[in-house]
Symmetry: C3
Amino acid sequence: MNLARALDLLGIFVFALSGASLAARKGFDAVGLVVLALATGLGGGIIRDVLVGIRPPTALAEQAYLLVPVAAALVVLVAHDRVLRLERPVLVFDAAGLGLFAVSGAVIAVDQGLGWAASVFLGTTTAVGGGIVRDVLAREVPVVLRADSTLYAVPAALGAALTVAAVETDLYGPVAATAIAGAVFLVRVLALRFGWRAPTAR
Amino acid sequence: MNLARALDLLGIFVFALSGASLAARKGFDAVGLVVLALATGLGGGIIRDVLVGIRPPTALAEQAYLLVPVAAALVVLVAHDRVLRLERPVLVFDAAGLGLFAVSGAVIAVDQGLGWAASVFLGTTTAVGGGIVRDVLAREVPVVLRADSTLYAVPAALGAALTVAAVETDLYGPVAATAIAGAVFLVRVLALRFGWRAPTAR
Amino acid sequence: MNLARALDLLGIFVFALSGASLAARKGFDAVGLVVLALATGLGGGIIRDVLVGIRPPTALAEQAYLLVPVAAALVVLVAHDRVLRLERPVLVFDAAGLGLFAVSGAVIAVDQGLGWAASVFLGTTTAVGGGIVRDVLAREVPVVLRADSTLYAVPAALGAALTVAAVETDLYGPVAATAIAGAVFLVRVLALRFGWRAPTAR
């Protein structure tokens, strides 16, 4: 397993933790924890793969992808209190996942021959799609829609756009990918720290 | 850009306006407006393309499709009050989009070799799917399900059925397409005007 | 039409009854009944087919699949009271559908070359996916997530796992399929009878 795959699975694990934690807070049972962990961890990537036509989706083609969210659900099931106390670390890991998925989603879209708008769209969708599925299943207003949420989709979209620009200008590589994912991570963490929000309609 | 494409994008723009307007009424932020505009404008067509196997979906293959909903969201963001005052015109345009999408969705399904039931289903889904996704994301009961909603899916389904019949009898062409879309539009507008509703279970 | 197809359509009919019944209880109109019947009866199979790459999905390729849920919606529309009195029989048929879909979904996944984890996932998704879509559209917390629901996804997942094991060991055939579907059915009915529930997070 190479580094990119390891980082991908780490991002899935953290997203799945957020799904299972929400399930626990809502009082769902163990099945609910597993379902929300799977939906949150894999939802964005599955939507991306279905839309660009990768079949079966990577999440189904490689066994580890399904096992990681189940493991995250088990962690929350047996150690819910400790995971709750880790809310801040989880948010930080989630920000890392956001950056990784925005970059990797955009690159996969460009590789499949899609234009820049579609690639930015798919990078962003990969990063935020799982969270939207999680919130819809848990009957919450999706966090990305809410006016009281700090910037989340915006750094993901910026990161996806930078990734597309880097690919188009032949600057894309491990260094660019790391720098862009790091920038997304930083903007997201700063948005959390300083309460940066998107504007609302007048 | 031919006429069919221009009408398609006009329909997407109007559907996107309805999505962004709902987002504004619910107090979502700018990201919420863009997400609901994209989901409402493109949702029906993307579901259709994924189901019939067109990949990538037209909405991703052609850049204009993604930009039109973003433009609609920006319009609502900067001129929400004026768009609200335009509610009646938006409903009329929405009725036009309903007719156009029911016809074009059914034709695409027939062209892909699907049977009549599947083609009627897909024409209807193209027309009403975006609105369903919009309502699910905004945590509303989908308008098409509600007993207090005026006829919406019914004219779309009738239009899709007429379209399939026209294709099967070799009568389909610009004249038939316009007539059917016009009939869907008319039934929808009359349903709005006179409060026509579907029956409920006894 | 062979036996497997007849059982598949019977399962779809029963799932569709549960969707249309929920629509009637929520006070939706006839369109709402049809939409929820289609979503519940066909949702799981369509998700499975989209994920494994069967296109168009069987539900669209074969006309009967779309007509059966519409028929179920009509039954509920004209005889809602009588269907409500049949709640227990419907739950029993639903348990039968759960077993059939878990087995058939897992087999289709294995046939498409997916690994065991993905095949168990897809068998379970085929069985419980339609109910999740039904609940999301009706703005209910999906039954499978809730702590007060009796075991539903668990017997489906066990049945899918047994199916994969049977295929891998060359034991799969009409006898094994019937036995496994019957075991899922039995566990589900016993869970209903004795109130078996999944554990919740500590």
